[in-house]
Amino acid sequence: MNKIHMLLRVLHHAERIAARKLLVIGERHKSDHEVYHVTRDMAGWSHRHIRLLAEQGDRLGINLRDTTGRSRPLRVVRERTAELLGHRPESGLLLLRDLRKLHLDLVGLSVDWEILGQTAQGAKDDELLALTQKCHPDVLRQARWANNMIKVVSPQEMAS
């Protein structure tokens, strides 16, 4: 059972990182409005995953409650900086770098969910399997979005 506990902790941690990264990248690129809004929508999905994971944690006796809180004092600074620097050509390259990293993180997270799904079937734990079926498609969509944005942005930023 300890391995499943460990896996849930890993996923919980990775989802928290993904949620935070989605928000931070949005704020850092507030002048790229689609990036800003869609990352915030998708961060909402990650927060739901975190909540659902914590519920499973309760059931299995693992404490996955969020201890760090949600306050992010640098948000305003990031957004303001993004607005001030939004007219500089380098902002596109920074966006590309952030999207690249985000995509890799999300692909990693997707693999973790894959492992949980397989584990749940192996352990015949229907609730964990249902959780995976609920959350894994969201992560795939998040990763696909990041990949898609990279395709759209890179020719403009790299070839112009």
């Binding site: 696909r144 020719p155 070839a159």
Partner: protein
């Protein structure tokens, strides 16, 4: 028929009724407006159609002594049977406005414009384009066009941009009005193309209008509905709109949801239809894919949930669902209330789903009209000037790109197809960060029509951005340009355009343009010659030289595609009625309805689009589409409700929605120059409900300041039947007829000062109908020389 002017269509915009029953032919009613002439005085009548909305009303222009002197409806045309709306009757007067642009203008070092010859102006434009190509390559150049040029012009511009320059950056302002219509059709049917026909109004027993104030946006189509309503066995109407529009007043059921909650509302309607078994099981299993996903999704949306999210009584939504669910011939129509709101495409797709699962497609009275806003929006979509490739070709399908390269005789790699064509909001972003430095704007006014105008003005004013504006007047946008090119318009040039139900009309030149103004087509052809664009055999890339040869070139490009024009010629379009595409050997007289017998354009090899994720907008890959829909059926795509990004708060407690009046078109560049239309709606106003006005202590006529986190606008209060918590501003009013000229002097007047930069991730259409706002009184209304307060004190 005698050519006497019809009665005042300002006071009575829809005119007298000509009632008819289901399945009958809509009776003719010929409307005419002649400016102080009798019919005997008219030198000649010249055939055209309306360019001031998407209805496509066919009309003739009266010419007297080389000038336009009036118009009359064409009784023989399928679209309007002779009727004209207020903008059709009076709008033409703008053509002879004394402030038309007549010579090119070039901005000087001191900021002033100076008149120049065409040769000087076009040499400068060409020089700047070449410089940009050398410095930054094709992606440094962008084209932003309109919904009011002709098909031949869009097609030519498309060839220049995609194959000549080789840039992805070409979009139309149709992005603001019709992008979601196209996106929703591409999601559900994998291809653009209006499924229904206006004649479905003649047969329908239920017409459901979603966010579509047809009475003001397509007034002649609304006359058709009114005539059915006044005839035997009238259809029942279901209206979804937060305002008590003329449509809502005629509706059997009016649902007034909170703006931004359309997906939740539609999911509830679908929930009821599925729960009660009001869907066509046989049609669903024979002609669709992915129904189960919809069933699972909408299970979570019982009517009580709508009551909660949309603030609509559960019982009323049940009633609407009953009417829609039991309709025998259901016509659904959609416009800006869906397209410019939260989750635009996802919501428009759910309307498609209603008709798809009920099997209400491709039969008389059973259809979908995903409407357009602008008169020639359809053509930007067909010709690939609005974010697609010409002829509804799929940018993600290499064989489609190769086919296009063959039509144009260029190398495939010359046509950018590594990513979706760039939409205007993204182009503005590239201009803001400096990676686009040459922007050519034709026939549109982004300095009034795009969201968050302060930002748009700042982008257009940048010194590093070279802006060319091609227009009839010195618009707010033209005032920010580096070069202004004077263009000819409707009545002054020949070409074709297509309305919202695929009806193609020929519009012939009636009079000469003023001064040195030139047809947009001639300006593009001149640019192509000067740039010396060549095909791969070294021949001129753009080989045509006039409207008719451009039309013939377009026909070759459209051959075999859903929007097939090969059976049309200018000659065939002269006299008689407009004709609906596809028109080819198989359908020589055109095609009334698409998707008869459940056959679609959706096979993986033929379809225009593999679709996008309804929440993130990420493109679906070809292999995935092939796996999901190998046989090319209709796609049922489900979506969960996602709350709007900008929520109301204590500081900004109202939801601001923007919209239209019947008397104006777009940013009033033409309609404000027609005296009857201008006098009918001379100044911006704001609408609030009686309850909200009372709670705030406002009275009719008070001058209010409407503020959002962006800026504020002053407008006088009209108390109307809008729902509580929502305020409405018409978006037409800018600054060209104020002292400040291109932007506000102090407080604003344009509704788009207030809107936020946010768009639907699928269709990329800006969300104009979603801003959190606060309101305060600036000045009390004055009645009989006294304010209400003064009255109360005395």
């Amino acid at each position: 028929m005698a050519e006497t002017s019809t009665p005042d269509r300002i006071a009575d915009p829809w005119g007298e009724r000509t009632p008819y029953g289901p399945g009958d032919e809509w009776p003719e009613r010929q409307d005419t407006f002649l400016d102080g002439l009798d019919d005997g005085d008219v030198d000649r009548w010249v055939q055209t159609a309306s360019l001031l909305h998407s209805s496509g009303d066919a009309m003739d222009i009266a010419v007297k002594s080389g000038r336009i002197a009036g118009v009359r409806g064409r009784a023989s045309d399928r679209v309007n049977k002779g009727r004209l709306g207020p903008k059709d009757l009076y709008g033409w007067q703008a053509n002879s406005s004394p402030d038309r642009l007549t010579r090119p203008l070039i901005r000087q070092d001191d900021g002033r414009f100076e008149e120049a010859s065409w040769d000087t102006a076009m040499s400068l434009v060409t020089e700047k384009a070449r410089e940009q190509l050398e410095k930054h390559g094709p992606s440094g150049i962008g084209f932003y066009t309109t919904g009011q040029l002709f098909l031949e012009e869009y097609y030519t511009l498309g060839v220049i941009a995609r194959a000549g320059i080789g840039t992805s950056h070409l979009d139309g302002n149709t992005r603001l009005c019709t992008a979601t219509a196209a996106a929703a059709l591409k999601e559900s049917f994998a291809c653009d193309g209006q499924p229904g026909s206006y004649t479905d109004v003649d047969h329908a027993d239920v017409i459901a209008l979603f966010g579509h104030n047809m009475a003001e946006t397509q007034s002649v189509l609304w006359m058709r509905v009114l005539d059915r309503l006044h005839g035997p066995n009238p259809p029942r109407l279901v209206c979804v709109d937060p305002r008590l529009t003329p449509v809502a007043k005629e509706a059997t059921v009016h649902l007034a949801p909170l703006p931004g909650t359309n997906v939740a509302l539609l999911n509830v309607l679908l929930h009821e239809i599925i729960e009660h078994g009001w869907y066509d099981d046989e049609y669903v299993s024979a002609h669709t894919v992915a129904f189960d996903e919809l069933r699972t999704t909408v299970k979570q949306y019982p009517p009580e949930r709508a009551a909660e999210i949309c603030d609509v009584p559960a019982e009323r939504i049940r009633e609407a669902a009953r009417i829609i669910g039991n309709a025998e011939r259901l016509l659904s129509t959609v416009l800006q209330g869906i397209y410019q709101s939260n989750q635009a495409t996802a919501a428009a797709v759910q309307v498609n789903n209603i008709n798809i699962i009920r099997g209400m497609l491709g039969k008389p009275g059973a259809g979908i009209l995903q409407m357009n806003g602008q008169p020639t929006a359809q053509n930007t979509r067909e010709a690939g000037a609005d974010g697609d490739l010409a002829g509804f070709r799929n940018w993600a399908n290499d064989s489609h790109v190769a086919e296009l390269a063959e039509v144009w005789n260029v190398e495939t790699r010359q046509i950018p197809h590594y990513a979706p064509p760039t939409h205007v909001m993204q182009m503005m972003r590239y201009a803001e960060e400096g990676s686009i430095q040459f922007l050519w704007i034709t026939g549109t006014n982004p300095a009034v029509s795009l969201p968050e105008l302060a930002r748009i003005r700042e982008i257009l004013r940048q010194r590093r951005l070279f802006v060319v504006v091609q227009d009839l007047f010195l618009t707010e946008t033209a005032q920010l340009a580096d070069v202004v090119l004077p263009a000819a318009t409707w009545g002054e040039k020949t070409g074709t355009f297509t309305n919202a139900d695929r009806t193609v009309h020929l519009s012939e030149k009636a009079v000469d343009p003023p001064g040195e103004a030139r047809a947009d087509l001639d300006i593009f052809l001149d640019f192509a010659r000067r740039m010396d664009f060549r095909d791969k055999d070294g021949m001129p890339l753009v080989s045509w030289s006039n409207p008719e040869s451009a039309f013939e070139a377009w026909k070759r490009c459209s051959a075999g595609r859903p929007c097939d024009y090969t059976g049309l010629t200018y000659q065939k379009l002269r006299g008689g009625s407009g004709i609906q595409w596809p028109c080819n050997e198989e359908h020589p007289e055109g095609t009334e309805r698409l998707y008869e017998n459940g056959e679609f354009f959706a096979t993986p090899d033929y379809c225009e689009s593999f679709g996008k994720d309804l929440l993130t907008g990420a493109s679906v890959e070809k292999v995935e589409y092939q796996a999901q829909n190998p046989k090319g059926r209709a796609l049922i795509r489900a979506a969960h409700y996602q709350p709007p990004h900008e929520q109301t708060s204590r500081e900004f407690p109202f939801i601001l929605t923007t919209g239209r009046t019947i008397y104006h078109f777009h940013t009033r560049t033409k309609t404000a120059r027609a005296p009857q239309l201008q006098n009918a709606a001379p100044e911006v106003w704001v609408e609030m409900s009686a309850g909200d006005a009372q709670a705030c202590g406002f009275t009719e006529g008070d001058m209010l300041e409407i503020g959002t986190p962006r800026m504020s606008v002053f407008a006088r209060l009209r108390i109307s039947g809008i729902r509580d918590g929502v305020v409405f501003l018409p978006f037409h009013y800018g600054y060209w007829d104020t002292e400040s000229g291109s932007g506000p002097d102090g407080h604003g007047r344009a509704a788009n000062e207030l809107t936020s930069t946010d768009w639907d991730p699928v269709s990329k259409q800006p969300l104009f109908k979603m801003a959190a706002a606060r309101i305060r009184r600036v000045e009390a209304a004055v009645v009989d020389g006294r304010t209400r307060e003064e009255e109360a004190v005395s």
